[in-house]
Assembly symmetry: C2
Homo-oligomer: 325 residues x 2
Amino acid sequence: MLNNTSALEALAIGIDIGGTGTKFGIVDRVGNVLFSSEISTRKHTDVNDFIDELHTELSKLIDNVGGIGRIKGIGVGAPNGNFYTGTIEYAPNLPWKGIIPLARMMEDKFKIPVVLTNDANAAAIGEMMYGAAQGMKDFIMITLGTGVGSGIVANGKLVYGHDGFAGELGHTTIIPNGRLHEGTGKRGSLESYASATGVRLTTLEILEKSTEPSSLRSVPSDQIDSKKVYEAAIAGDTVAKQIFESTGTILGAALANFVMFSSPEAIILFGGLTKAGDLILKPTRESMEANLIQIFQNKVKILVSHLKESDAAILGASALAWDLK
Amino acid sequence: MLNNTSALEALAIGIDIGGTGTKFGIVDRVGNVLFSSEISTRKHTDVNDFIDELHTELSKLIDNVGGIGRIKGIGVGAPNGNFYTGTIEYAPNLPWKGIIPLARMMEDKFKIPVVLTNDANAAAIGEMMYGAAQGMKDFIMITLGTGVGSGIVANGKLVYGHDGFAGELGHTTIIPNGRLHEGTGKRGSLESYASATGVRLTTLEILEKSTEPSSLRSVPSDQIDSKKVYEAAIAGDTVAKQIFESTGTILGAALANFVMFSSPEAIILFGGLTKAGDLILKPTRESMEANLIQIFQNKVKILVSHLKESDAAILGASALAWDLK
């Protein structure tokens, strides 16, 4: 089997662990996702069960390409994933608490090399190699999903920081003493507003505070989510539009701070909230420009990832595997 | 003359342009500041007059070391100084407005190569080569002077950004809709609180708002400055202590945001306000830790530069000159 397959092109596995679901795929050198699938992250309170299911599901894909002998390695992107140590540490949006030595646990299970990084760092690598950031040496990737992740590239390299944890921009404080983040216990972070979770909370708040008519009032409160708000806004609902306006205004103020830190050529947005298009992008751009000092104004592009939904992180994670020895 | 001196060790000139004064010195390869002096920045509303006085004063120092033939080049640190273009652009704390092609203007005057960068970037290079950041690959330099400057090192390299303007952390918004910054027209920036100017304004505000007794009430309001507040605090004045407490709390919250961006090994503080010691450092550290999510807590050192006052920026600026071709 190994002899048959070793003549074939080597492949890599990319895995993107998110707060809700985990996506994974088998990727070739030029960035084609040959096979991909997804499992739930949230349902596995024990990380061992999670790895077991991941192994079962990935094995099916691996069989499709001729067996594990073709796979050079596995790259994993995960919230609070640490490139240096291969551990996931105190991730507020994952069901596993404390320090999880995920790379070593997965190597024991899969018997091939595993490298781990922050999920948004993986997405940034994906954008740099195959997406909107090709050719850029300085950019910031922001993922607007269940949470807010970020990957920062400066001087053409991922910024990992001294301990591998750089790029937690979702946890920076934007509104002092603002909304409580249940996962971190901190107040007023970007993530508590500019994530799918944040949009849901903003919606509930605005509906409660105002008496303005809105189609969202007929949605049971436990079913309010960013998709419902988007649909209402597209249909012309004023309250729904106001929710994206408010979210974009906060996001833009945060982006201005990030620009004044590393002066990127572009900020690349990725994830569910970007589907709202100009409903969120217009207030984001306006608020960013309004908060920038003159030398930074009208220079920084805000781009939306054009990689297929979920592919950026899978591609980026898989790219890590090519560098494995 | 050139023949006589060319056998001697080459030297570099470092210049640190600040909002109030401009310091300059002649530096050898190992970081000894052989001769140094200072002129006023503020009094020259025309940059040509500034360059003329700088040339006159520097020529005296150059004569001391045997003439211009010994000088490899000039490195300049200035607010909003751009490493890529050699220009100072729209610096809110300098008397010269618009875009000033300072490096070229100085080359025309001095007839030797001139390289320019942000003043705080220059200080960061000084700390990395000769100071508290020796051996560090990831750190942030914050200068707390008339304004707040910053230089960011990641992966062992200065972060310049795509346009050379990275590291304007003093202009990041810490308190939305907060205090107006006269130079930028923006509200709530770190600089509007955690600079000498900011401490003065905080003092005036606190004295006006409260009726608490304070020795500062006997100081005419136009003479209130951070030095006076420090002296009062050291003498036990409760209001003065509260001013540093408040300043440190804001600074610490800002530092937490910066840590969650680039995860530095240390933050190195430099400049007038650091003379207040634990009066400002203690609340700064406490506020930083309180605003950090768990993975960053109790990891990041806050260090005060131990380079002689003004030397870090001169040394760092001079270091730029060694890389000149």
